[in-house]
């Protein structure tokens, strides 16, 4: 691998377009950089292209035009399996393997990467602690867990091989308000400690303001604006303003990270 300058973006979209096989465009002229250690939130309504953008990073989708650079190289030139194993991926439906125990779910990538068993075991223990789950849970199956526990296991699984990048697609969207609040709080602590480069998809402005270091607002397959949370609240952009209005009072207290 070639050396990457410290200030180079970890992920970079260059003139990216994505068109469905039937000709319907989902994404146009996307230029976006994600810096090391930041949490970039993709905010927008359903169909705005946030999930498409996310899936272009780990090549679950391939762009129809332009390039996506990951860690200083076009991701189309990286072996797709290697690329995906170096990027953690968390989705709303979690997608835990129902026939595997928690331990096997979390340890799957390390196992296929050929780690020795005791190292996997230690790593699983460590990860459970990081995501705030007790050790007794390792031998349980996904159907024996609550929604919150499942998503914690999902996060632990994504972190298993210590990827520097984490892609999260509405990870807390299906949880009840209380559990969501708790997991958001833990996410901030986790992020302080692990300092991953995170791309986080949500349609919830409150969540975006709380978790993001920058918010990328998307609409109809295009990037509208990219702003830090405090600036987002003051933005004169009509769509951003409409969002702020729709979510109502009390947003200022949520937006912890201002314009630096």
């Amino acid at each position: 691998m070639r050396p990457i300058p410290a200030n180079a973006p970890v992920i970079e979209f260059r003139e990216v377009a994505y068109v469905l096989p039937n000709g319907q465009p989902l994404l146009r002229d996307l230029n976006l950089q994600v810096q090391r250690g930041e949490t970039l939130v993709l905010l927008g309504r359903s169909g705005s292209g946030k999930t498409t953008t996310l899936k272009l990073v780990n090549r679950l989708l391939n762009p129809s035009g332009g390039e996506v650079w990951v860690n200083g190289a076009p991701n189309a030139e990286t072996d797709v399996i290697r690329l995906r194993r170096s990027i953690g991926y968390v989705i709303q439906d979690v997608g835990l393997f129902p026939h595997f125990t928690v331990e096997r779910n979390i340890g799957l990538v390390p196992r296929i990467e050929g780690w020795p068993t005791d190292r996997i075991h230690l790593r699983v223990q460590e990860l459970l602690q990081i995501v705030g789950l007790g050790r007794e849970i390792v031998s349980r199956y996904p159907y024996q867990l609550s929604g919150g526990q499942r998503q914690r296991v999902g996060v632990a699984r994504a972190l298993a091989a210590d990827p520097s990048i984490l892609l999260m697609d509405e990870p807390f969207g299906a949880l009840d308000a209380l559990t969501r609040d708790q997991l958001q709080r833990e996410f901030l602590l986790l992020q302080e400690r692990l300092n991953k480069t995170v791309v986080f998809v949500t349609h919830d402005l409150r969540e975006a303001l709380r978790l993001g270091s920058r918010i990328a607002l998307m609409e109809a397959g295009q990037l509208v604006t990219v702003l830090p949370p405090q600036d987002f609240l003051r933005s004169t952009d009509p769509l951003a303003a409409a969002y702020v209005q729709a979510f109502g009072e009390g947003l200022n207290s949520v937006a912890t990270r201002g314009s630096e």
Partner: protein, 210 residues
């Protein structure tokens, strides 16, 4: 002389024909599994194959069994021996439930599980063997179960072309208007079918993912 006595008197022949019957069913089911599961996987993963594969299997299923035996008779090597012919015909009939259930089982795996697996960097092979097949196994097995039960019944007809099996008793009994002979073929065949149904059903429940 009642049926019971008849069974005692002819137990050696009944056993021999039962084993022959089992062999016909066993080999043809094995072949159907070896051919049908890959075809099912193929049509589940590449939709273009779905119609031709399932369509062909469907058409085969609609051919009357006696006619199928007749069609295969002139085929070289196959037609030369009755048991080869019977095994081929039984295999062809067993294909549809195996292919269809493999297809259904794999398509029925929760898409979010597959997406998570792909996103984590599992290769296609790892995804298939560690995720899709284990999660589809009980559905696939229920297809095998149907195939076996149908084959046990169908294999009795193989005696019509001289392939042996419990059908020998049935055809002989029909020719001689002898109910005991018919029962000597029909009862063991029914027991075989029920045993296979029960055993595979049990296995299916054991392997059912939660």
């Amino acid at each position: 002389m009642n049926v019971f006595h008849f069974f005692l008197q002819h137990h050696e022949e009944i056993l021999e024909l039962t084993l022959e019957h089992l062999w016909l069913v066993g080999i043809s089911t094995l072949l159907a599994v070896l051919i049908g599961i890959p075809l099912g996987i193929l049509s589940a993963h590449w939709p273009v194959w779905n119609k031709p594969v399932l369509g062909t299997a469907n058409v085969i299923q609609t051919i009357p069994s006696l006619a199928l035996f007749g069609f295969l008779l002139p085929v070289p090597w196959i037609g030369a021996r009755a048991d080869r012919l019977a095994i081929l015909a039984l295999t062809l009939y067993a294909l549809l439930p195996v292919i269809r259930n493999t297809y259904t089982g794999i398509r029925g795996v929760d898409p979010s599980v597959v997406e998570a697996g792909r996103g984590m960097g599992l290769t296609g092979r790892q995804l298939l063997f560690q995720v899709e097949l284990p999660l589809a196994v009980s559905v696939i097995l229920s297809g095998v179960r149907v195939a076996v039960v149908v084959s046990v019944g169908l294999a009795t007809i193989a005696a019509a072309i001289g392939a042996g099996g419990l059908g020998e008793f049935i055809f002989r009994g029909l020719a001689m208007v002898n109910n005991q002979l018919i029962l000597a073929g029909a009862i063991p065949a029914a027991i075989l079918a029920l045993t296979a149904d029960f055993g595979l059903g049990w296995l299916e429940r054991r392997l059912q993912p939660r």
